[in-house]
């Protein structure tokens, strides 16, 4: 028994001494110094001066409910290459000007990195993995509040509530991040001048959620596989002066949802194989859905009675012709579907999508005058995105060829007998 107690005391003392050493090193370092950290350090470390911490196979383990590392009221801080373990929050940054937090690996915690009232902050190449609990019981991967000029890129985030939560931020560039299996991939609230590009969102409830925002651009992102009963690729709620361009939105229950939006431009995006590509509610008539590609969607668009302006998009289910050769159909494309409109009111109706009665209803819609003023594109494109139209999946082609050859061989052998 005495041996066990002595061993425990030895490890406890060693651990305390290691953490004391790191905090002591931080406290004793000259402002602007660089500290190389190795091994595991337990405690709740605090930086209040310009400093660079470089990890070499290093781990910061939080004790209790406090963060493993807090950077408070300072400037010019770099934290690079640490594994962080914490019960609640991994790293907290408060009132800091100019910091880089990169190459952090955090897992099984509530919030990976939390930022308050700071400016000129770079969060990059971090890897954050939450738990398998319900979204409501989890925190955000990166939680960013009341800050300005942020650069968030190349982070890998999974199994959290919101991958990147952004509230009251002025000026943020979010790019090349991947967020999967979370509630919202990136969630904007009351944040202006946001630029979101080249990110990948997969298997979340909603890939990109933008709420109460004025001035926003999202481009070249991919949002796909959000096909739970409440899933959507991109959702804009109360958004003004925004552009969504060159994104690929595929295999979602709802591709793009627009609610209460003013002056938004949805252009040059690809909507592929979504259950419903576009849903619009309370969208002003200045907003425009233009030059997009709609391929393989069960329902192209649905809306409230105010509709949304569709112009010069490509629709794979357009049946018109281009007799004058101007690359646009000679008759308008009607996206209106009675059933789609009903689904706006009763989302549970989605379970009847593609049933024979719904298909019949949709055909009838095309031939009735009810639809003539709503969800109509007067200038549908005839040819668009040849890469999709003409593309060959070589693996599938090879497999098909092999199957065909096998069938022929079996057939020939059978016929010889």
């Amino acid at each position: 028994m005495r041996k066990i107690i002595l061993t425990l005391m030895f490890w406890l003392t060693l651990s305390l001494s290691a953490s004391a050493n790191l905090q002591q090193q931080i406290d004793e370092a000259e402002p602007g110094a660089t500290i190389e950290v190795t091994g595991e350090h337990s405690g709740n470390f605090l930086i209040t001066k310009p400093l660079t911490l470089i990890g070499k196979d290093a781990t910061l383990r939080a004790t209790g409910m406090k963060p493993a590392l807090t950077i408070d009221n300072t400037q010019d801080v770099i934290i690079d290459n640490f594994k962080v373990i914490a019960n609640q929050r991994g790293i907290v940054v408060k009132d800091v000007d100019n910091a880089r937090i990169v190459n952090i690996a955090a897992s099984d915690m509530l919030i990976g990195i939390q930022l308050h009232r700071s400016k000129n902050i770079e969060l990059a190449y971090n890897s954050i993995e939450g738990t398998d609990a319900h979204y409501a019981k989890k925190g955000n991967g990166l939680a960013l509040f009341q800050s300005e000029d942020l650069h968030v890129h190349h982070n890998q985030i999974t199994k959290v509530q919101d991958g990147i939560y952004i509230e009251e931020i002025q000026g943020i560039h979010v790019h090349d991040n991947t967020v999967t299996n979370s509630r919202y991939g990136t969630h904007f609230m009351y944040s202006d001048a946001g630029l979101v590009e080249n990110n990948t969102y997969e298997r979340n409830v909603t890939g990109l959620m933008v709420m109460m925002v004025d001035g926003f651009t999202a481009r070249y992102n991919t949002s796909r596989y959000h096909n739970e009963m409440n899933g959507s690729g991109v959702l804009f709620y109360d958004v003004k002066n925004a552009t969504l361009a060159h994104n690929t939105i595929s295999e979602n229950r709802l591709g793009l949802v627009l609610q209460k939006c003013d002056t938004v431009r949805i252009e040059d995006n690809e909507f592929l194989v979504n259950q419903t590509a576009l849903e619009a509610t309370r969208v002003d008539d200045v907003s425009l859905v233009m030059n997009n590609t709609f391929i393989g969607n069960i329902l192209t668009a649905r809306s409230d009675k105010e509709g949304v302006t569709l112009y010069a998009n490509y629709y794979d289910d357009y049946n018109g012709i281009d007799a004058d050769g101007d690359r646009y159909g000679d008759t308008p494309y009607t996206a209106y579907s009675s059933f789609g409109q009903w689904m706006v009111r009763q989302p549970a109706y989605q379970y009847f999508v593609a049933s024979p009665s719904v298909e019949l209803l949709t055909v009838l819609d095309q031939q009735t005058p009810v639809a003539q003023h709503m969800l109509v594109d007067d200038k549908p494109q005839m040819i668009k995105n040849e890469a999709h139209m003409m593309g060959i999946n070589y693996a599938q082609a090879l497999l098909g060829g092999l199957l065909l050859m096998s069938t022929l061989i079996v057939w020939r052998k059978g016929s010889k007998r």
Binding site: E167, T206, Y237, R282
Partner: protein, 151 residues
């Protein structure tokens, strides 16, 4: 006499056709999705619902989403059949427009908006005394309220 009987019958029938009964319905967390944030209504203790005058039910996972929906559609009490939210104390459906609200960023709600709902001021005061913090509000105070996590 026949005339009076016919008139009485007509009055009864017409009265029956008149008032709609906007009762809250039970929620199903497997199929009910919040109109605004698209989350399923897993935490029913915080759920809300609006019954439109045409009888449509709309479901919300958080009072913030319900208020946003009213703002989105520019609706006031007279424009909807009824609007209900769960009482944070009793779990009963209560009238959104007459409820008392208690806000603090520390209060947990499904969208982390931090606004709890109570049937009356007494209930809300009691909760505030117990928790030690919270700002009392009424429905009018929620107009223009900045929903967010507010860290």
């Amino acid at each position: 006499m026949k005339k009076y009987l016919l008139a009485a019958f007509a009055i009864v029938i017409l009265a029956g056709c008149g008032d709609k009964n906007y009762e809250p319905r039970a929620l199903n967390e497997e199929t009910d999705v919040c109109q605004i944030c698209q989350m399923t209504v897993v935490h029913q203790d915080f759920a809300g619902q609006i019954i439109e005058k045409n009888g449509d039910y709309e479901v919300f996972d958080d009072i913030g989403c319900l208020v946003e929906k009213l703002e989105r559609d520019q609706q006031s009490e007279k424009d909807v059949g009824a609007a209900y939210i769960k009482d944070a104390n009793t779990g009963e459906w209560i009238n959104v427009f007459e409820a008392t609200y208690l806000y603090d960023k520390e209060f947990w709600t499904p969208m982390n908006y931090g606004v709890l709902v109570f049937e009356d001021v007494t209930e809300a005061e009691a909760y505030r005394s117990k928790s030690g913090y919270g700002k009392l509000m009424n429905f009018e105070d929620l107009q223009g309220f900045k929903w967010g996590i507010h860290q």
